[in-house]
Structures are given as C-alpha cells and as structure tokens.
C-alpha cells in the first residue's frame, strides 16, 4: 500500500473540524449566556448603569484605560476603581482633569453634568461587583 494523503480528505477534515468545534463553541456559549445574568448581577443593570455605560463608550475611555483588563494600557484599570477610590473621588477626579502637570500623562476634560457623573459612577460600581473568576484583578491596584 502506497502512502495515501489526499487533498479531499484534508478538505473534509477542515470542514468537519471547523463545524464540529464551532458547534461545541455554540454549546458553551449557550451555557455561558444562561449563567452570565447571575454572575454579573444583571438585576443591578439599572437605567442609570446603562446611561453610564453609554458615557463610558462615547468618551472612548477604553482608549486609555482597561476595564476588566481589556482596553489600552496607558492609564489605570477601572474595573475595580470604585472599590479602590470610591464614588466621590471618581467624580472629583474627572472634574479636575486635566491636571496640567508638565510631562505627565493627561486626561481630557469631558464637561460631564452631575447626572452624567452619577451614571458613570453607577456603571463603575456595578462593574466592580461582577463576579470575576478568582476575583480578578490580583489586587486592588488593578
């Protein structure tokens, strides 16, 4: 028997393997979607939190900060900032930007209203309560 290694079999394995593992991925996704509400306390996603997420997005915060470790690595992690600093500090900090300290990294002034600041803080508070595995990040510094 000579060596057999055919293109059609290689192709079948590609298609079969891709479909197979995508189905497995869908099955796992199904389970994940079922369990996310509990792990993330989705009952806490109030209108204010939703508005806060919108503020977070439209100011492109992710362009400097990380949130649960995803984003840019130029500025501190904010997934746990509520636990690290508290709501009042966050609001005061955002109002005080930019610091203007020469040579230091600067955060823009976004001119947020009190309502918007409260919404953003509520979003960050809810985010800090998401049940992440092993309570990531490793410590309060993020």
């Amino acid at each position: 028997m000579s060596e057999t290694f055919t293109k059609s079999m290689a192709r079948n394995i590609f298609y079969g393997g891709a479909v197979f593992f995508f189905l497995l991925f869908l099955a796992l996704t199904f389970d994940t979607v079922q369990s996310v509400p509990k792990r993330s306390h989705s009952e806490g996603v109030t209108d204010s939190v939703i508005r806060g997420k919108h503020i977070w997005e439209t100011r492109d915060c992710i362009g400097c900060h990380t949130l649960l470790g995803e984003g840019a690595y130029f500025a501190p992690e904010l997934g746990n900032v509520y636990k690290r600093r508290g709501g009042e500090f966050i609001k005061a900090w955002i109002r005080a930007q930019p610091t203007g300290a020469p040579g230091r990294r600067q955060m823009p002034q976004f001119n947020l209203t009190d309502q918007q600041l409260d919404d953003l803080v509520n979003f960050l508070k809810w985010t800090s309560e998401i049940n992440t595995t092993r309570n990531w990040p490793p410590n309060i510094e993020g």
Binding site: I13, R39, V45, D60, E70
Partner: protein
C-alpha cells in the same frame, strides 16, 4: 500579470502602504506620549491617537486583503474579474469613508462625533477596535458585501481552486463576524463576550484562512511546487487553526465575569494554537527547499519565509507565553498583551500583506521582479522592520514583566502610575526602536522608486 482586471489590485496596495505609514506615525506619537505624557495634549489625546493607530491598522490590512483577492482570484479562477468597475468604485468609497472617519476622530471630540453620526440610534461606538461611527460600520459592511459579490461571481464563473475557496471562506467569515460589532448589549459581560466574536474570531480564526491562502498562492508562484501538495497542506494547517482557535476564544473569557470552565477550555485549546503556526513555518521552508524553479523575485521569497517565522513567534510563542490562565491572571491587561499584539499583528497580517505586495507589485508594473538593487533595498527594509519589531516586542515584554512584578505581585504593590514611572526606560527604548522601524518603512517605499535598471522582463 495574466489578466487585465488584476490591475485593480494596484490602487488597493498603494492605499494599504499609505495607511500603513499613517499607522506608524501615530504609533510613534503614542510611544512618545508614553514617555512624555502631555505631548500634543490636548490636540491629540492618547485615546484619539490610539484609535487612529489601531483603526488604520485594520483598514490598511483590509485594503491589503482586498487587493490580494483582486490580484489572486482572477489568476486562480483563470478568468477576468467579474466587475473591475465595481472594484474601483468600492476602492474610492472605502478610502473616502476611511479618511473621513480618521478626520472625524481628529477634528471633533469623540462624544460629538458619536452624536453627529447617530450613535444614539444604535450605540456601537467606544469599544476597543470597534470605535468607528455607525455610518462607517455600515459602509464597511456595504463595501465588504460588494467586494465579496465581485470576487464570488468571479470564482463562480471560473476555475474553483482550493486556494480561492479558502480565501473566499475567510473573507465571508470576516464579513459575517463583523456583524457582531453591531451588537452591544447593556450588560458589560455580554458586551465583552460577543465583542470577541468579532475580534478573536477575526484574528485567530477567519483571518488565518486568508493568511494561509495568500501565503499558499505566493508559495505556488515562487517555488513552482505542485499545487496538490501545497493545497492539501493548506487545508491541514487551517483545519488545525480552527480546531484550536475557535474554542481558543476561551482565553479571553478568563476574567470578564464568564463561568469558570473557560479557564480550562481557554487554556487547553489556546495552548494548542501555536501548532498550526509551527506547521506553517515548516510548510513554508519545506516548499521553498523543494522548489522547482528559481523565481527572480528573491525579496518576495524572503517575505514569505519571514511571515511564517514571525507569525509563529508573534502569534504562537508570544501568545502561548501568557495564554494559560494561571499566568494570564497576572499578565492580563498589561504591557505583555501589548507586546504580543505588536509582534503577532506585524508578523502575521502586516507581513503577509507585504509578502503579497512584494510578489504582485512588480507584476502589476509589468515585470516579474524588480531590479537587483531594488530588491536589495527591499530586503534591507525587511530586516530593519522585522528586527526592530522584535526589539519593540522584547522591550514591551520587559516593561510588562516589571510592571507585573511591581503592581501585581508582593505584599506592597505599587499603584498603576507609580509602576509606569519605574518602567520608563523600556518605553524610551521602544520609542527609539520605533524610529528604526520607520526608517525601514521609508526604505521599503523608496525601493518602489529605485531605478528600474536591470528589472526582469515580464513573465
């Protein structure tokens, strides 16, 4: 060049290189902001520069993919492109839309841009890499569909080779998974979960099919190895890619509030993700060693081999470094991620586009290869860019390790900014290396204008 309509690839390649230059310039701005924080503030805040840097990367790589498809598909299908005119129209739409988006980022505050472009109707903006305003996102879908229609029709009326089927599959996947960028649930965990369906299933899924098809095409052309052999290895490699890469998405689901089993699924499958990249390296070198012809375009051969090696290093090795969840617990969201991102994007997707351009551009300009001196210049640019990118990666890795040590280990961790101050040296080194990269890129562009002299006649 065998078919007249392949010529539409040329503007796509030129645009790709032009945007690549823009990407690098903004990268240098950001690199400088890492060391001198208030550089260009408030004119170009870091988040804007980063948006421009990453979006230009995506757009130029898409231009490269489209150009590659317009060049490759007619030759594989052995027929003229279905509609060169449509390809030209889409070129201008995509270029203008891309340019307007970048101008929008730079000219108005992001929140204003969001308001202007209807983000309140369907909020999709402000998520990493998917920052584009709604009209741009819709435009990408339209351009992608018109493009897919064009090349699919070409394949349908011509010869259907495995390479063009794989390429088509990759490009269709690209368009389909982009649709998840329109889905933005209000629950952040769900948002992040499906955000990866675009991002991960692109770069560690369907883009690898495109990469494999492009590399296989160039290898067939420059080595003259039997198509059957190359195509069956292509299938095996991309099969491994999807077998490991689809569930490998789990390595992004470690710490974002998703169930704990992803620790295991993500770690196990993504640990196997280097295998297809390793196979690709072995495959590329094997084919070149078994070559049946001496193609005059030595530079393209160098790029093809370089892609296979650097993709393995950047995506395979640097990915594996931090993909196991006990390691990722510490490295997640640090400069380690940035290091991996740079080497893998350059090694896999930037380089495969440059490979394709290196092979196809001389053909599009009526010769089978550039003159010896132009090729030597191009090879210099290869080494300058590649070596400097390796060093950028090494410096960022060092910065990341130090950052983790200071900020995440030990009993008295430093705050984020205090830790950043401690790793400043590596950011300086990275920025200097970035300029070397820019020199390599300038040299690369210069090689196109090098005197024709002894250019090889068209094949």
């Amino acid at each position: 060049m065998q078919y007249k309509s392949q010529a539409v690839a040329k503007p796509y390649f030129i645009a790709a290189i032009g945007l690549f230059v823009g990407q690098i310039l903004f990268g240098l701005i950001m690199g400088y902001q890492y060391v001198v924080g208030d550089f260009l503030f408030p004119a170009i805040p870091f988040n804007v520069a980063r948006m421009v840097h990453t979006n230009l990367l995506i757009v130029w790589i898409l231009f490269g993919f489209m150009g590659a498809a317009y060049y490759l598909i007619p030759e594989e299908a052995e027929t003229e492109l279905f509609s060169p005119k449509l390809a030209w129209i889409m070129f201008w739409i995509f270029l203008v839309a891309g340019a307007l988006t970048i101008v929008g980022y730079l000219a108005v505050p992001y929140a204003t841009l969001a308001k202007m472009t209807g983000n309140d109707i369907l909020a999709t903006m402000g998520r990493e890499f998917l920052e584009q305003p709604l009209p741009t996102k819709v435009g990408i879908v339209i351009v992608a569909l018109a493009f897919l229609f064009n090349i699919s029709m070409t394949v349908l009326k011509g010869r259907k080779t495995s390479i063009s089927l794989v390429l088509l599959l990759g490009l269709w996947g690209l368009a389909i998974f982009f649709l998840f960028s329109f889905y933005n649930p209000s629950n952040l965990v769900m948002d992040k979960y499906f955000w990866w369906w675009t991002v991960h299933l692109w770069v560690e899924g369907v883009w690898e099919l495109i990469l494999g098809a492009m590399l296989a095409f160039v290898l067939i052309k420059i080595t003259g190895v039997d198509r059957e052999v190359i195509e069956k290895w292509l299938y095996i490699i991309i099969a491994m890619t999807l077998i490991t890469g689809i569930i490998g998405t789990g390595h992004h689901y470690f710490w974002i509030g998703t169930p704990e089993y992803w620790q295991w699924f993500g770690s196990v499958f993504s640990a196997l993700e280097p295998i297809p990249f390793f196979m690709m390296t072995v495959f590329a070198f094997n084919m070149v060693n078994r070559r049946r012809r001496e193609h005059p375009n030595k530079a393209a051969t160098l790029w093809a081999l370089g892609t296979s090696v650097m993709a393995f290093l950047g995506a395979g090795v640097w990915g594996f470094l931090h993909t196991l969840s006990p390691v990722n617990f510490y490295t997640h969201g640090t400069q380690i991620t940035a290091a991996h991102g740079h080497l893998s994007f350059y090694g896999a997707y930037a380089m495969v586009n440059l490979t394709m351009i290196s092979y196809a551009m001389p053909m599009l300009r009526g010769r089978s290869a550039n003159s010896g001196s132009a090729q030597i210049m191009e090879m210099w640019s290869f080494w300058l860019m590649t070596v400097s990118m390796v060093f950028i990666t090494l410096f960022l890795t060092a910065a990341g390790i130090l950052q983790i040590w200071l900020q995440r280990m030990g009993t008295t961790p430093l705050g984020f900014m205090a830790a950043q101050d401690q790793v400043m040296l590596f950011y300086w080194l990275r920025e200097i290396t970035g300029f070397v990269f820019l020199i390599g890129l300038v040299l690369y562009i210069w090689s196109f204008f090098c005197k024709k002299g002894t250019a090889q006649a068209a094949a």
